[in-house]
């Protein structure tokens, strides 16, 4: 790590500028990790100070898109927490075996691994044709990347290990093709997936979902935005719908907590009453 440290007041003026000019509000993101991502971005793009960064963001739309892509955390793994995916299959997806249509929402999604994993799980239990998946991101570049569906080959070691913990003797390359230094996901599985550029906190979301995957997103919010997100998530679910958050995230908020019952304590799967 190289050193470039910005002050809280500089970070706040950057946030205010983006909020005013771009309509995206980072004011209630978790401060330490946001600050570090801004610093890393500045090092990568040789920005000397936040004034210069603000100037470039305001005047160069492509540069702003790159900024958004980096600031929204887009790192994950296929089958992260294999036990989560096992429990999701048993306690949630199997409950919909005889439903005509299942609506699934993956909001604020900045990398494809959660989606590809879900599609593999659904395909293996022959439920792909009955789902409608709606995936949203604040970043058009991240949407493009998710649609493009390639993963660097060097990242596959951990993905393969996770998959084997989920499905003993399974072969993840039933779903991916090697192409040089990357692997490409079988995009035929995308036929019932809609991916859109969308602002989860500002734009309307229909209240029709049977399942929302929101794992490891709350990590990047502060308490206030976490409460807002949980409220919005709860409103977007049908009664009896399911919500999954990350295994180190909690939903203990007055008002929200009582709306849910715990399906899996360890894997953080909840059901709306």
């Amino acid at each position: 790590m190289n050193r470039l440290i910005i002050g809280i007041s500089e970070l706040k003026s950057l946030i205010l500028n983006i909020k005013t000019n771009k309509g995206i509000d980072f004011s209630n993101y978790a401060l330490s990790s946001l600050k570090r991502r801004v610093e890393s971005f500045m090092l990568k793009f040789h920005s000397q100070n936040t004034e210069e960064l603000i100037h470039r963001i305001s005047n160069d739309q492509n540069f702003y898109e790159l900024f958004l892509k980096d600031i929204l955390v887009n790192s994950t793994e296929l089958f992260r927490d294999p036990d989560f995916w096992k429990e999701l299959k048993v306690y949630v997806l199997n409950k919909f075996k005889f439903s005509e249509e299942i609506q699934i929402l993956i909001p604020e999604c900045n990398s494809g691994e959660e989606l590809y994993t879900l599609l593999i799980v659904l395909d293996q239990i022959n439920m792909l044709d009955r789902v409608k998946i709606f995936l949203t991101s604040l970043s058009p570049l991240n949407i493009e990347k998710i649609k493009n569906a390639t993963i660097e080959l060097k990242k596959m070691e951990v993905n393969i290990a996770n998959f084997e913990r989920y499905h003993e003797n399974g072969n993840i390359f039933d779903f991916f093709i090697k192409k040089g230094s990357v692997v490409k996901f079988n995009t035929n599985l995308f036929s019932n997936v809609e991916m859109v550029h969308h602002n989860f906190f500002k734009d309307e979301i229909p209240k029709v979902y049977n399942l929302i995957l929101f794992r490891n997103k709350i990590l990047y919010y502060n308490q206030q935005l976490k409460a807002e997100a949980l409220k919005k998530l709860s409103q977007s679910l049908k009664p009896g719908g399911f919500l999954a958050v990350g295994i180190k995230e909690t939903i203990e908020f007055p008002g929200v907590e009582r709306e849910f019952i715990v399906i899996s304590e360890s894997e953080k799967i909840f059901k709306k009453q």
Binding site: M1, R3, I5, I8, A30, L31, S32, S33, R36, R37, V73, S75, T76, R80, D81, P82, V158, A161, N162, R165, N216, I218, L219, Y220, Q223, K226, G246, I247, K248, E249, T250
Partner: protein, 187 residues
């Protein structure tokens, strides 16, 4: 003594030292401890239990946004970075690995240094990569106290040697001396 928080980082060869430190601290030791130790990313359980066997201090793997309390040791969970936030809470992250590590010692140390400034003691133990060197430099530059385990005593000295190269470390101590130092802090 003005120190109010202690953060300890370690990797290969640090497990025994950590367990000895935890076993030696008295029940009355009330400064919050943060432990950022490299660990297998897919093994979620067992580590806290192993560290707790002889510890007088309650060790927990915090949830995201958990408030920091006295008499507790906070162990960075597997496959998450652990930040210490302004406002005295913990936040976790799944951002990419740093120095091939998640949790990264650099991230925990640098955020603790920023938050606690001169109230922080940073201690770096045996380890096989240079994660932690940047972090302990941050502790130093924010006015905290820096301690590194004597490389001669470390099973693997890459981490401590990198730290000593990165900044002027206040104390280079054997594990026995680190334990004495911590116990005497509270007298």
């Amino acid at each position: 003594m003005s120190y109010k928080y202690i953060i300890i980082g370690g990797s290969a060869g640090s497990f025994q030292t950590i367990t000895r430190i935890l076993a030696s601290l008295p029940k009355t030791f009330n400064l919050p401890l943060f432990l950022c130790l490299h660990r297998l990313k897919h093994v979620r359980s067992g580590f806290v239990e192993a560290l707790s066997i002889k510890s007088n201090i309650k060790i927990i793997e915090p949830n995201d946004k958990e408030f920091i309390r006295q008499r507790k040791a906070y162990l960075a969970p597997a496959n998450y970075h652990m930040y210490i936030e302004l406002g005295n809470s913990i936040s976790l992250s799944t951002e990419p690995a740093i120095n091939h590590s998640r949790p990264s010692i650099d991230i925990s140390f640098a955020s603790a240094a920023y938050t606690y400034k001169s109230k922080l003691i940073g201690i770096l133990l045996s380890g096989a990569n240079k994660d932690g060197a940047y972090g302990i430099k941050e502790v130093k530059e924010h006015g905290g106290l820096t301690i590194v385990q004597d490389p001669e005593e470390c099973q693997v000295k890459t981490m401590t040697s990198a730290a000593i190269k990165a900044t002027q470390i206040d104390h280079i101590l054997t594990s026995d001396k680190i334990i004495d130092f911590l116990i005497n802090l509270k007298k």
